[in-house]
């Protein structure tokens, strides 16, 4: 067996490409370039200095707008929660007032019935 060096030299011997290789390379030179993909078009767009200069303030404005909108929504949520709590409290107070009024009405009714009964008894005694 030959030494490994010789085996590797033989293994890595240069090989010719398939027939017509040079012709195919030249044909690709003549061919119109493939239409750029969406990613390529976007990256080409952002390589333009004008777009880059415009993109930075637009991005900043969008972020600022997002922050303002988020804060506004947070404020609205807090206000809605506050209003909800106040409405619950008002209902609770109304409920208590109604209960008190009902109790009073019941007491008055009971008292009126008692007075009426007493009068009836006195009249029958007479």
């Amino acid at each position: 067996m030959k030494p490994l060096d010789d085996e590797l030299r033989n293994l890595f011997k240069r090989k010719e490409p398939p027939v017509g290789f040079a012709g195919r390379v030249l044909a690709r030179l003549e061919a119109p370039p493939a239409p750029p993909t969406l990613t390529e078009r976007l990256s080409a767009l952002f390589r333009r200095p004008v777009v880059r200069w415009v993109a930075v303030p637009v991005a900043c404005a969008l972020v600022a707008l997002g922050v303002v909108r988020y804060q506004h929504q947070q404020r609205m949520r807090v206000q809605a929660e506050q209003a909800s709590r106040e409405a619950m409290l008002a209902l609770q107070i109304t409920n208590e007032e109604l209960s008190t009024a009902l109790e009073r009405a019941q007491r008055v009714t009971v008292r009126a019935l008692e007075v009426k009964n007493n009068q009836s008894e006195k009249r029958s005694d007479l």
């Binding site: 490409p17 398939p18 040079a22």
Partner: protein
């Protein structure tokens, strides 16, 4: 390369930079086996190797004004082919590797081959790390010196030296074990 072909290459380069397509075709024909073989030995897929080789020549056409001489052209082609081949494997993973028996053989007469040993050697070479494999191909296909390999690959010369030593050691060990202890 002797002086006459070197001079012819310089002339082709000069004509090519003036937009002469025929001169570019001459350059492609003169270097196609080097570029294609580097890609083929690394990728082990004839169709992918041809794609990579074509891409290399198309890039060469665009970068022609930066090429200063025939020697610079060979260095440039080796460098770009190596990097493109390694990038291809890193991006897409190894393609279905075919046996190199599927590839047309060179016209030159060959010494007696041992197909089994060759296949075994291919499999072992395929297990080496990408850079070590490319270093071996540059060493044994192109017969480059360590310094030249270091320049093409863009790595220190000591790394090239240790890569070759380590790769040969691994190949010898694995080959000897697979052949029942026969020294290679």
């Amino acid at each position: 390369m002797s002086k006459a072909p070197e001079q012819a290459m310089e002339e082709s380069l000069a004509r090519c930079t003036r937009g002469d397509r025929a001169a570019f075709a001459e350059i492609v024909r003169a270097h196609q086996s080097m570029v294609y073989s580097l890609a083929l030995h690394f990728l082990r897929n004839p169709s992918t190797a041809e794609d990579v080789a074509q891409d290399v020549f198309l890039k060469l056409y665009r970068d022609l004004p930066s090429i200063k001489s025939g020697a610079h052209l060979r260095f440039w082609l080796r460098k770009v082919t190596c990097h493109r081949s390694i990038d291809h494997v890193r991006r897409r993973g190894p393609d279905g590797m075919l046996s190199l028996d599927d590839v047309p053989e060179p016209a030159a007469a060959e010494r007696a081959r041992d197909p089994l040993l060759e296949e075994k050697l291919w499999r072992l070479v395929a297990t080496l790390p990408e850079k070590s494999r490319m270093v071996l191909i540059l060493r044994y296909q192109e017969d480059l010196q360590l310094r030249e390999i270091a320049e093409v690959m863009g790595i220190p010369i000591n790394t090239v030296k240790s890569s070759i030593e380590r790769a040969l050691e691994v190949l010898r060990g694995k080959l000897a074990r697979s052949m029942g202890g026969v020294k290679v």
